[in-house]
């Protein structure tokens, strides 16, 4: 049942509609945040249950999506230990020998993916919020409930780590504009 001006939607209908309309966007967000399919799937499901497992109605699709995105992020950060474990074995699942690079773009893309997978949870979260969600540093700080200085440090560390990993650019050459 769609929500009308005077008729609040049942939460079950909002869940269903949210999954239909915004499911792919949510899974994509979770995938970028977490870096792997299984964690992304868990994150989305857990975030939806967290959001709708509360005794309240009145969510619109837009407000529910905002809650779910927030829950995805916090759940991901809470699972830092789990992500760390994944990071340690992430390289085992890569197939660098089989990825013969047909062109420089593809090679860069693979390298970036590889380096992104190795970032710490908060570094990765900051990077995704900055470059995918297009949030400014202050907005990231508010979202993560940390200081702007901490966000800049995470971004700087993340970019430096990626630059070192890519072995092709210094930290000052990689994402120097934090907004």
């Amino acid at each position: 049942m769609a929500e009308t001006e005077n008729t609040p939607a049942r939460w079950e209908d909002v869940v269903t509609q949210l999954v239909v309309e915004r499911g792919s966007a949510l899974t994509r967000y979770a995938y970028l945040i977490s870096g792997n399919r299984e964690d992304a799937s868990d994150l989305v499901h857990d975030a939806l249950v967290k959001t709708f497992g509360r005794l309240r109605n009145g969510f619109t699709i837009a407000s529910a999506e905002a809650y779910v995105r927030r829950a995805i992020l916090t759940t991901y950060l809470d699972r830092g230990r789990r992500i760390s474990r994944w990071r340690k074995i992430a390289h085992l699942t890569g197939e660098p020998e089989m990825q013969e690079s047909p062109d420089a773009d593809t090679e860069t893309r693979l390298d970036l993916q590889s380096q992104l997978m190795k970032l710490r949870p908060r570094e990765r979260a900051c990077l995704v919020l900055r470059y995918y969600e297009d949030l400014k540093v202050d907005d990231i700080a508010e979202t993560l409930q940390i200081s702007s200085g901490a966000v800049k440090r995470y971004l700087s560390d993340a970019l430096a780590r990626m630059a070192v990993g890519l072995d092709r650019a210094g930290p000052h050459d990689l994402g120097s504009n934090h907004g």
């Binding site: 008729t7 869940v15 799937s41 499901h45 939806l48 509360r54 995918y132 994402g175």
Partner: protein
């Protein structure tokens, strides 16, 4: 060379594996999460929870009208007392669900109560949508000629009522804390409150609240510091009209 735009385009263009969302499972898990749950905690856990409670909470007597916060605080400390030294597990009902279960459908008194000269006012500025949340303040004022010292629950109870029956209540979470109050004549303190608008009596069928005119009121348990002054009492506001759009 990878730069800002490379990172941005990588994130934007990255292929995302197909991830199926199981809506039925989500709804099922959400429903389960909404039901009252039983938590088993060890005596150490109970003691740890009780240690967070302000010492004065032990003076909160159990009455049918006290706030959920004070009731839960007392229950925790009572459990701690009775189980001190025991190493067996103890289970108790999740406080948030219990508080809701106790209040949902209850008859809320329609008259104000101002023990010890304490008056309670609820302000929920509109507009409030029937499908949303109301945000406002509760002000506790000492209207007497003497200073009033004691403790209150950290968060006032707020009830949305229809025909004097509570259909929505806050807080909906466990709050095991009380705050000290020392109000000189005319002084007041303010609490920020919020109230999710839903009908708890029909929650299993969606809990929708029709737009219209309702009433809202607030209450707060107060315990004087000096037992000789008196015992715990409930401060209660008079019902105020709230229009849900």
């Amino acid at each position: 060379m990878a730069d800002d735009s490379d990172i941005r385009s990588h994130l934007v263009d990255a292929e995302t594996p197909a991830i199926e969302i199981d809506t039925d499972a989500i709804i099922s898990r959400s429903k389960a999460r909404r039901r009252p749950r039983q938590f088993a905690v060890g005596a150490v856990g109970v003691l740890a929870a009780a240690s967070l409670v302000f010492a004065g909470v032990n003076t909160f007597p159990r009455t049918g009208d006290l706030t959920a916060a004070s009731i839960m605080a007392e229950e925790s400390s009572t459990s701690a007392d009775s189980d001190a030294g025991a190493d067996t597990a103890e289970s108790y009902r999740a406080p948030d669900q219990e508080a809701i279960a106790e209040t949902c459908g209850a008859i809320i008194p329609s008259t104000a109560a101002s023990p010890y000269g304490l008056a309670l006012e609820l302000d929920l500025p509109g507009p409030v949508t029937a499908s949303g949340s109301a945000f406002g303040t509760v002000r506790l004022t000492n209207t007497s000629d003497a200073a009033v010292t004691g403790t209150t629950a950290a968060v006032p109870d707020v009830n949305l009522t229809r025909d004097s029956v509570s259909i929505s209540h806050s807080p909906d979470a466990q709050i095991l804390s009380v705050i000290p109050v020392n109000l000189q004549p005319g002084q007041s303190i303010e609490f920020a409150v919020s109230l999710a608008i839903y009908d708890c009596t029909t929650i299993d069928t969606g809990g929708m609240v029709e737009p219209g005119i309702y009433t809202a009121s607030t209450s707060l348990a107060f315990v004087p510091s000096d037992p000789e002054v008196g015992e715990a009492a409930e401060v209660r506001s008079s019902p105020s009209t709230i229009v849900l759009q």
